[in-house]
Symmetry: C2
Subunit: 602 residues, 2 copies
């Protein structure tokens, strides 16, 4: 633990129960009389002398008790346990054995008196960066988990990212406006959490999945530039690393086109990387959704490494190999320098793609050996000449490994995308300290909902909005809305960093007629559209400006900056995958009296 | 409308559909070719020439169409209606008749072409500072109401107050930490809004009335200084100017005593007044709750004016006047310079105090005339000598009016407090541009709940926490908890400005045993206490530091700074007194499918 790191936004600390924190005393403070407060990180007894590491948010300072100074006090110090809360008065002295790794490591406190402000029973796990506590225990005692330096640093990072987000947006003249949390249920997308009304029995509020309609109304109001760091809610089925409540950086601008928004928020992301991590991000490339799917099989490609898809229908078909001949798509990747992969490693990869969640039926490989020969798993069907053609298609070099999948186009691309990421990981190409950002643009406006269990059943077998129903189609594609809805492209964009969707947005519809057409395409009757979104469509009649915006997943952004995979450790009090708070034991039953007041029965 | 006021945090505006805003062009910009976007504030036709005021958030710029420049264009301009959204290209030219009240008033735009980006139907009320729209209409079309300069300025003020709050607290090393919105119902105070769980049927989340327990746990975690600008929720009965969702500046600190907290947050309030209003606030006085009740009959006294209560039992009793003789308390105020009040005015005051919500049975007055004589409404019982004694008790001067009420102590103080405020208003002593701040301290820990309909019925006829159950009693009063609970004082404090409670807080209990005693005093069984707050009491066993905090009502603070009585105009999308959002029509029924998924029947 780096005990004494002082933060740059630290300004002053007035004397309270303490005159200094545990992170600020230095050699220049020697001989000062000080009062410190904090927790006992650890206590060591060395031949009658007791050394205690006293911890607070700001650092660790060593307390020293010597029986030669005060026999009684030194004896009393022996009874102080881990995590006790102490107030200590003493003198700053120079340490004989200095610890240069700790900013307070050159001094210690010669203790004159101490008070136990609160005793502590033994914690259920160790309060260390590497703890012995399992996930469940740490969630139940989250307040102890948060004492760990490593977890607190995550939340300090989150704080810093929020500050720098505000700094940037405020300089750009964005106004932070709070939108309501108790709104109206509009179940056109994921499920809403709802709140029964006591004063209006039988009616409900809903918690917002995003402030979408409100920020659009703010544009109609002429607010011009809006932002909010805001909690949003989604009642989803159990999924790993999803939270029922999550935080967005939500933004909207008027009188803009797509390019303006991309520039503005590329600026935000660059500002965050520069100020928080001192990383310079180059101009971000734009990639169409169609290209992302074709080249990476994924609308959020990890572009820290190349390994682009190569389509091989023209190269591999027409031989005796039925699997390839029957496939809608034969597509592969070239793993640089992996020709030496053992049979065991290749079997592992085959097992990997055959897992049910990936669902490939098999994996074809071809090693381009360093001696120039090429050996494949389908040598029976493809001779050296054929394989040379493969290598040419892949631009493969001696030492490379070619991996091929075949099947229906969508499913095969999806499977190959997983394999590509797996190979990227295996080859060490996904460095957490490297950041590759891009904009994916021209998303489809609609997608066919076959059976997404996160949507209400009544929405199945229908076109649903890929982004949301307020996203503007590209003007030139509007004519396809009735004939080929799946081909309509939207003015929608995602910011992707290291294969993670960090933000997404769109240019919005600002015309009542187009909005009505969109609702019709989504299967709303006129009455349903008016009932749920009448206020917005009516607002468009009073002079709505062209507008658009974006929302960033703030929890995900924090975990990306923190180099972690899970968002949970960047949320102070997260819920588990079953949407439960294990610490406060919520959700929980409420009293009969409360149910009666709400008029609710189960 | 002051069209051209540029805000100091305005930095730069990249070219989008416009090259300039409607608030930034000046005489120095003459001859520039510009593109503006905005709304038509008004259009005037003067002898064939058309002048249009184009409005955006940043100001108003005049557009000029002259048939001598372009006949067709000038004709087309005639068809542009109020609130149309335009994009206009033209040249900045000097105006012949300048408007010095408007920062853009020296120039106008010689329009070369324009595009109607969106037409507008006629708004249901005028978009002006003084509108003809009633409250209900303005709420239904809130997005149009927000176009009014005066309403938008309120939200800009709110934004600015949030920024300055963060600036101060971050310099003081507070960390902003987001606490959860989906928590657990703990109905020991006002009613919770609850959220039925779909994944765990029959169980509920609750929306927080404040992040109280979470911020205390953050102190147990060693976060030291926490803040959050956060939405809170309270399911209250209909009350004027209350909102079901409201925003708090929520703060907590460790290793502090009451005085430290008062100093820290007095600093915050001074910082806000200085930076936002350029007002210097002097050192804030501290007044005990007992004194506030005795001197003002109110725990949030308006101290912009004196008019303190004078108790008169010793002065007025023992004459033939039964009303005074039977009264528990005779108490009055002296209204400086109001001796000339007419009979009609005095009758109005009598009617005022006899209104049911005030409930006095009558009003006794005595005029100290400028000629030195004193005439009272009870001359039958009190002679000149008696009235001289009254005057002496009041320190009244010739020209003053003495107003007396009598009855049971609590009720009479409450009524006289209302009368005092009424007199303050009538005498012009409650200037909205004057700010009088004080700390009210030493609140009672508990209060007897006779029949507050904002609490569950099961809490009636019980002691309830005046502040909340986590507030620390004064150590010297703990012994009274069982014998005289009503006399126990708390380490609790309110910040009062101009008679409004702007903030309140306390030193918290950080000892498990004391917390258990507190719950017992509040009528919790051990099991109930453990079930609802076990996580907090358990946390206290692992080394909880002494801690305390405060929460400010942010909506109320904004309205105080804005010089308004209602908080509603400082909230972008408020609800009405029946907790309804009239714009989106919420709360509203949800679908059978949603109800079925939740397993809920009515």
């Amino acid at each position: 633990m780096n005990g004494g790191q002082k933060q740059d936004f630290f300004v002053f600390l007035p004397p309270m129960l303490r005159t200094a924190t545990c992170g600020e005393l230095r050699i220049a403070d020697v001989n000062k009389e000080v009062t410190l407060c904090g927790w006992v990180q650890k206590s060591r007894d060395l031949g009658g002398m007791t050394f205690i590491d006293l911890r607070d948010r700001y650092g660790i300072t060593q307390l020293t008790f010597n029986p030669e100074w005060d026999k009684d006090l030194a004896q009393k110090a022996g009874s102080i346990g881990r995590e006790f809360v102490l107030q200590v008065k003493g003198t700053v002295i120079e340490r004989s054995s200095k610890n240069k790794n700790n900013l307070t490591g050159e001094i210690e406190i010669k203790v004159k008196e101490f008070t136990v402000l609160n005793a502590a029973i033994t914690p259920p796990f160790t309060i260390e960066d590497e703890t012995d506590g399992g996930e469940e225990l740490r969630m139940k005692y989250r307040y102890l988990d948060l004492r760990r330096n490593i977890v607190r640093k995550n939340l300090e990072l989150r704080h810093r990212l929020a500050i720098e987000t505000r700094n940037y947006l405020e300089k750009q003249n964005f106004l932070e406006v709070e939108t309501p949390v108790l709104i109206k249920s509009t179940p056109e997308g994921a499920r809403d959490y709802v709140v029964p009304s006591r004063l209006h029995q039988g009616s409900f509020y809903a918690l917002p999945q995003s402030p979408q309609t409100f920020k659009q109304l703010l544009m109609v109001s002429g607010f011009d530039r809006y932002y909010q760091i805001v909690k949003c809610f989604r009642d989803e089925d159990l999924r790993a690393d999803r939270q029922p409540e999550f935080t967005q950086i939500d933004c909207e601008m008027s009188f803009v086109e797509q390019e303006d928004i991309l520039n503005m928020f590329e600026g935000l992301v660059k500002h965050l990387f520069k100020t928080v991590k001192n990383v310079d991000i180059p101009k971000m490339p734009h990639m169409t959704y169609a290209d992302a799917m074709k080249l990476y099989g994924n609308d959020k490609p990890d572009t820290r490494f190349e390994m682009k898809f190569v389509e091989l229908n023209n190269v591999v078909k027409g031989k005796e190999f039925k699997v390839f001949n029957d496939a809608g798509l034969v597509v592969g990747i070239c793993a640089k320098g992996a020709a030496e992969y053992t049979r065991k490693q290749l079997d592992e990869l085959t097992e990997f793609v055959k897992r049910p969640q990936i669902g490939a039926t098999g994996l074809v490989y071809a090693r381009y050996n360093s001696d120039g020969t090429i050996k494949s798993s389908v040598d029976k069907f493809y001779g050296e000449e054929d394989l040379k053609k493969w290598a040419a298609a892949f631009s493969a070099q001696p030492g490379d490994l070619m991996l091929l999948l075949a099947g229906s186009a969508d499913k095969t691309r999806k499977a190959l995308s997983e394999l590509r990421l797996e190979m990227g990981t295996r080859l060490g190409l996904r460095d957490k300290d490297k950041f590759s950002c891009l904009w994916v643009v021209d998303f489809p406006l609609l997608e066919w909902n076959e059976g997404d269990t996160n949507l209400l059943e009544s929405l199945r077998g229908r076109w649903v909005a890929k982004h949301h129903p307020f996203t503007s189609p590209k003007p030139e594609d509007i004519k396809l809305l009735s004939s080929a809805p799946g081909e309509v492209r939207a003015n929608a964009y995602d910011l992707v960093i290291n294969g993670v969707e960090i933000g997404g947005g769109s240019i919005r519809i600002h015309d009542k007629k187009l909005q009505a057409l969109m609702f019709k395409t989504l299967g709303f009757t006129d009455e349903e559209a008016q009932n749920q979104f009448g206020f917005l469509m009516n607002a468009f009649e009073f002079g709505a400006p062209p507008h658009g915006g974006i929302a960033f997943g703030f929890d995900r952004l924090c975990s990306l900056f923190g180099g972690a995979d899970s968002i949970r450790d960047f949320i102070a009090f997260p819920k588990n995958n079953a949407a439960k708070d294990m610490m406060i034991e919520s959700p929980s039953p409420i009293s009969e009296e409360q149910l009666k007041e709400l008029g609710i029965k189960f």
